[in-house]
């Protein structure tokens, strides 16, 4: 490989070191919280906001914002990994575990996949097992405050063990599916699962 040009004295905004083993391959640590978006920030008023679970379930369920706030919530501290190569360690959230939400529906045994759908039209698909056993939650608080709109507020899905494009901002519901269907980025070349530790960034990785 030829000699690559290096800019004298340029280091970038990255944190230069992170505790061993916490950065997946190809990632670098950041101190800020970058805002990435595929569209304008939606502004759903809380009186209109609902969260639903539907599809391959015996009976769909829907919560209003007030009802959702009444569900048992937890605080979570997790590392998050964006496919654009930044990782932010120790992010603090508050929200409802997806396990808690799924307790309210009877899943069809055929349901193996989930499509999360959002205000603004964004979608992302996930294997159902990746949402269970404490691995995922619907968060409405970040860093001790209500989740800001540019970071997905009023509520977003957070699935920290997968690349962060799966942690759908402005989430409004989950549709249980028998077959896997591709969401917004997955249908444009991104991986259907997105495990950062296996660097599953693109379809075929």
């Amino acid at each position: 490989m030829g000699e690559r040009f290096v800019s004298r004295g340029f280091v970038g905004k990255r944190q230069m070191s992170a505790p061993g083993g916490r950065l997946p391959p190809g990632q670098h640590g950041v101190a800020d919280f970058p805002v990435l978006s595929a569209g304008p920030t939606p502004r759903t008023p809380l009186e209109k906001w609902t969260f639903s679970i539907e599809g391959e379930v015996e009976r769909p369920v829907r919560w209003s914002w007030e009802e959702f706030q009444g569900l048992p919530a937890q605080d979570f501290t997790v590392d998050i990994h964006c496919v654009t190569k930044w990782t932010k360690l120790d992010t603090r959230w508050r929200g409802v575990s997806v396990d808690t939400l799924l307790e309210h529906v009877q899943l069809d045994p055929k349901a193996g996949f989930v499509m999360a759908y959002c205000d603004g039209g964004y979608t992302t698909n996930l294997p159902l097992p990746d949402l269970l056993n404490g691995q995922a939650f619907v968060a409405y608080g970040y860093d001790g405050r209500p989740l800001a709109p540019e970071h997905g507020g009023p509520a977003r899905l957070v699935v920290p063990h997968l690349y962060f494009w799966k942690s759908a901002k402005w989430v409004r519901g989950m549709r249980l599916m028998e077959q896997d269907k591709r969401g917004f980025w997955e249908s444009a070349g991104y991986h259907h699962r997105g495990d950062p530790w296996k660097e599953e960034r693109y379809a075929g990785d």
């Binding site: 690559r4 040009f5 800019s7 004298r8 340029f10 970038g12 905004k13 800020d32």
Partner: protein, 249 residues
């Protein structure tokens, strides 16, 4: 535009000039300089020792008549990764990787005629300055007006040069609006750009005016909407939204 490859080249920083407290102009000497169109930009890329890269786009401030080099005027953004490097680390003699010139939509040259209405918010004045410098360089008398919104008089980039261009008597008028604090005795505009202001400024130029608006998104939208409301055909308005760093992306 002619089909050509868009290649990265290594430019040398020939000079750095402070324009305002937050903006500097970087004169870059380009080994593969090609004549640009006023309004175009260059992409700039920084590479760290370990291969990490950051890339931004900056509008060309200089006129194409100045051969072999370009001026980029960059506003420093608090915590800005690239603007911080340019402002705080770069010195004349350093080298920068750039590619361009890029752009085919937000461009103007004298052969396209006028009248010309340029609307700038903050560092959005940069690509418009290339247009005005080009207009002066070729001795054009196309009627032109620049409406330039800044927070304070100290924030005005190219203040003296703009005054000089206006005093040149070739039909350019520069109209400032200061949204936060005004010079003593100021009787001009002292508010954000709005439809009434635009109507007053655009009216004398007439319906054949070509309009270029550049600045933060809210200003661009307000100005475009305001001009359409004043009767200008939308197809005559070209817009470029600038990010907070004063360049795009």
């Amino acid at each position: 535009m002619l089909n050509r490859a868009l290649e990265w080249q290594i430019a040398t920083v020939a000079a750095i000039r402070t324009e305002t407290a937050r903006t500097k102009t970087f004169t870059l000497s380009l080994p593969a300089w090609v004549r640009h169109l006023p309004g175009q930009h260059y992409d700039l890329r920084l590479t760290a020792q370990d291969g990490y890269q950051a890339q931004r786009s900056y509008s060309i401030a200089s006129e194409p008549e100045r051969e072999g080099e370009i001026d980029l005027t960059v506003e420093s953004l608090p915590g800005g990764e690239v603007s911080g490097y340019l402002h705080d680390v770069l010195v004349p003699g350093d080298r920068l990787e750039v590619r361009g010139p890029i752009g085919g939509y937000f461009v103007w040259e004298v052969s396209r005629g006028g009248p010309l209405l340029l609307v700038a918010g903050g560092s959005g004045v940069v690509p418009l300055m290339s247009m005005l410098r080009h207009r002066r360089a070729v001795g054009s008398r196309v009627p032109a007006r620049l409406l330039y919104s800044s927070r304070t008089p100290e924030d005005v980039i190219y203040a003296d040069e703009l005054m000089g261009l206006q005093d040149g008597g070739d039909g350019l008028e520069v109209i400032h609006s200061y949204t936060r604090s005004q010079p003593a005795g100021w009787t001009g505009y002292a508010r954000r750009i709005d439809a009434d202001m635009l109507k007053e400024i655009y009216r004398p130029l007439g319906g054949k005016t070509q309009v270029f608006i550049c600045g933060p998104t809210l200003l661009v939208e307000a100005a475009a909407d305001g001009l359409v409301a004043a009767g200008l055909a939308p197809g005559r308005i070209k817009t470029e939204r600038f990010g907070p760093s004063g360049g795009s992306a």
